[in-house]
């Protein structure tokens, strides 16, 4: 086997696909949350901070209650609070959503770093009770797909359900119509007797919860009870790119997140051959390529309109 073939076989293995699902999951959860606020007409740049809060408080809950479920519970509670806080500022007091989002990210980074050092000391914490991976015996019999899907964190499976529910909610229920109307033409909803602000509150709340889940997956699912400073590592921004790329369609946002997961997994595998600094740039390069694609698609649409 030549060196090149060796690289290829490490890079394109079942392990890579397994890693893809793992890496995609937090981005996907946040992106689905971001799709909600995007439909409600809120440009939510603050998902990174929301994820970070979920990650830290998940570990804190797990540490204090010595149970992963306690961690998950605390993460969800914080998700609700952060979502409501975001809505209070952006929806109720009409602050600039971009500024509030940035502030939320900075605030979350500062707060979690400070609390982490106060509670766990300078080296962070490891090995708190975490959510176990699920082993589904019937899956192990299927080749490739079986090992790829099996032995994953609960969140990986949960995300599929969330995608389906979000898609049903947005496109198949009256509430989804209201949600989309609240972002596209709020006055229409208001004159129909439904408060667009209420829909924006709900969207912010859902986004807070889903981002907190994403954070909990990072600290309790993927990294077995570990918190490290800034562990969200810009996943919130990548999730935002997925939202834009998918035009806030939950299913497409999931696929976009999978793509990120795939390239991140490849990057991790390549680290034995190429500098990690270089492979770490891959997700961001992909973001740029995605955005170029979004712009190109828009221009194509414009040209089509011009010909019509």
């Amino acid at each position: 086997m030549s060196e090149f073939e060796k690289i290829l076989s490490t890079v394109f293995s079942v392990g890579t696909l397994q890693q893809m699902l793992r890496s995609a999951t937090p981005v996907a959860l946040a992106a689905i949350g971001g799709s909600m606020t995007e439909h409600a007409g809120i440009m939510n740049i603050g998902m990174d901070g929301m994820i970070l809060m979920g990650a830290f408080f998940g570990v804190l809950g797990s540490f204090l209650g010595q149970s992963a479920l306690a961690g998950l519970g605390l993460a969800l509670l914080i998700g609700v609070l952060v979502g409501l806080f975001f809505a209070l500022l952006v929806v109720r007091y009409k602050s600039d959503e971009f500024i509030i989002g940035c502030a939320l990210n900075t605030f979350a980074l500062g707060l979690t770093s400070y609390l982490s050092r106060s509670v766990f000391g300078n080296n962070g914490t490891k090995g708190n009770p975490a959510l176990p991976a699920l082993h589904l015996p019937f899956l192990s019999k299927i080749p490739i797909l079986g090992p790829m899907l099996n032995d994953q964190s609960l969140f990986v499976y949960l995300t599929w359900i969330v995608v389906l529910l979000a898609w049903l909610f947005v496109y198949k229920t009256p509430y989804g119509l209201w949600l989309r109307a609240s972002g596209e033409k709020p006055d229409t909803l208001r004159t129909a007797g439904i408060s667009p602000k209420r829909m924006q509150w709900i969207a912010s709340l859902l986004c807070g919860i889903l981002c907190a889940l994403a954070g909990a997956h990072l600290s309790l699912g993927q990294l077995s009870g570990t918190f490290a400073e800034n562990m969200s590592n810009s996943r919130g921004y990548i999730a935002f790119a997925c939202v834009i790329f998918a035009a806030a369609h939950p299913g497409k946002a999931y696929l976009a997140a999978l793509m990120f997961g795939f390239f991140e997994a490849i990057g991790l595998r390549l680290q034995s051959y190429v500098s990690a600094d270089l492979t770490n740039t891959i997700p961001y390069l992909i973001t740029i390529i995605m955005m170029v694609y979004v712009v190109a698609r828009k221009q194509q649409r414009k040209k089509k309109l011009a010909r019509a």
């Binding site: 009256p174 209201w178 909803l189 007797g193």
Partner: protein
């Protein structure tokens, strides 16, 4: 309830906004089964009154009764349930939703209690269409259908919600004459066959005469008169609106057209999105004539005018003012070549709201020696004297030349723009929307000034969304559709209805030169 019974009653309704009394002790009864027209100038309080009825605003004092029940809580949801529907001037439709989805929004048919039933929504839309004879493409997205159809969707939406009382806010502002006629026949049909009550807010007096049974006139927040339409005429209504007699004098034309003053050849212009807006357009304008542009908004008239006046770039073609090519020059250079411009949006480009009236009147002349000392220091006294003189000559009414232009009423702001541009005495005038949102009295004044300029030999290119204005002022009329000239007519040669056919591109003259 039988006919002639009061279906809506306003009792001593007042609405106080900070600094403005928008409605002042209004008492009014609307009868079941009538078409009631509510007219008044901008800011007279018509829309406020209707917003109160629709539950969007809560009055400061007074009561509203709908079908014999007092409105306790001002909330659109409750008012809608009592059978009031409103078609807003700016349509309340979600552009990406289908027609059917827009019609059922907020009262969606469901399956399994929580899911939206799209098929049932489309069926409901079709049922309504059949019942009221209003055809719409129920599966298409609203953004893909015409403005006239969008208005039908709005009406169907109100009917779907069970409206018996329909409020139409300036419904004809965006319609062609054909679409207006269709709308009126729909109104007559729902009133006659379904016993509906229609309230129509408008400032077009001929439409009041054509469609309404009774008319209420509002002025400065007060209801100053209610009349049976058959007892009044347009002139009477106009003077009631303004509060003093308005004489719609026949404008006097004199003189013969002279030499060509403005020439446009094969002009191509793109809009702000980069799409072609003006396509290979040529026209000639002679001294002593008014050439009016009749077009539905968004058909290239704005881009044509902005390209001629140097506000946006020209893609190809030539513009010549008095024999001198000005294509691609700066607005100031084009002005120096002999062309003044009254822009369509006075707030955005016509005036500076934060500057004084005097400074606004000065713009474009600031470098003239008489307003300067050694070219660096303003001569405030000369500027003030000049502004004072123009202020009086153009009958501008406000708090004087030292007040801020942004604090004036729309009509007076427009007079400032007209006064400034007309006082350059250029041989060519390009005028866009000269009286948009301006009250009847000011319209008369502005029209007579435009005609005076024409009679003095100015070449005038006029663009207006108000078809009546184009017909009243123009010697010749061109119709634009999608950036192309679809017809050229001498005034009096064509009716408004026929012009409508050329404006929508359904008719087209052979040649395309004007």
């Amino acid at each position: 309830m039988k006919n002639n019974e009061a279906v809506i009653r306003f009792e001593h309704v007042s609405m106080q906004f900070p600094g403005v009394l928008a409605n002042d002790d209004v008492s009014l009864e609307i009868r079941r089964g009538e078409v009631f027209a509510l007219i008044g100038e901008n800011g007279a309080g018509k829309s406020t009154l209707m917003n109160i009825l629709y539950g969007i605003q809560t009055p400061s004092s007074g009561e509203v009764w709908i079908k014999g029940k007092r409105v306790e809580q001002y909330d659109p949801r409750i008012v809608i349930e009592q059978g009031v529907g409103m078609v807003h001037q700016h349509f309340m439709l979600v552009p990406s939703f289908t027609v059917a989805q827009n019609i059922v929004l907020s009262r969606e048919p469901r399956k399994h209690k929580i899911f939206f039933d799209n098929a049932a929504a489309e069926a409901a839309a079709r049922k309504l269409e059949a019942e009221y004879g209003l055809t719409v493409p129920e599966t298409e997205a609203v953004e893909d259908i015409s403005v006239g159809l969008q208005q039908r969707v709005e009406i169907l939406k109100a009917l779907y919600r069970g409206a018996e009382i329909l409020i139409l806010d300036e419904p004809t502002a965006v319609l062609t004459p054909q679409e207006t006629e269709e709308l009126f026949s729909v109104i007559r049909r729902v009133v006659r066959d379904k016993g509906m009550t229609v309230i129509i807010i408008t400032h077009k007096l001929d439409e009041v005469m054509a469609i309404s049974d009774r008319v209420g006139v509002m002025r400065k927040g007060r209801l100053v008169g209610i009349h049976e339409t058959k007892d009044v005429d347009a002139a009477k209504l106009a003077s009631l609106m303004v509060g003093r007699p308005v004489i719609f004098d026949e404008l006097i034309r004199s003189g013969e057209p002279g030499a060509t003053a403005l020439r446009v050849e094969h002009l191509q212009v793109s809009d702000h999105r980069g799409l072609p807006a003006v396509r290979d357009l040529s026209l000639e304008l002679r001294a002593g004539e008014i050439l009016g542009i009749a077009a539905i908004e968004g058909n290239g008239q704005s881009e044509l005018i902005e390209a001629i006046t140097g506000m946006i770039p020209v893609r190809s073609g030539r513009v010549t003012v008095l024999g001198r090519e000005v294509t691609g020059l700066e607005p100031g250079e084009i002005r120096a070549a002999g062309l003044a411009h009254v822009p369509e949006d006075r707030l955005a480009t016509g005036i500076s709201g934060l500057a004084t009236v005097a400074d606004n009147l000065l713009i474009g002349r600031q470098r003239e020696p008489r307003f300067n000392r050694f070219g660096i220091q303003q001569n405030r006294k000369a500027i003030r004297d000049y502004a004072q003189e123009v202020y009086q000559r153009y009958d501008i009414r406000g708090a004087g030349v030292d007040s801020l232009a942004g604090d004036m009423s729309g009509g007076n702001m427009q007079k400032v723009v007209i006064a400034r541009e007309f006082s350059f005495d250029t041989p060519v005038l390009v005028i866009s929307q000269p009286t948009r949102g301006v009250d009847v009295g000011a319209i008369e004044f502005i029209h007579s000034r435009i005609m005076e300029k024409r009679n003095q030999g100015a070449a005038i290119l006029l663009s207006s969304a108000d078809l009546d204005e184009v017909f009243r002022l123009s010697d010749r009329i061109i119709t634009l559709f999608e950036g192309e000239i679809t017809g050229t007519f001498r005034a009096g040669e064509i009716s408004k209805e026929d012009v409508g056919l050329y404006m929508t591109g359904s008719k087209r003259q052979g040649g395309q030169e004007a």
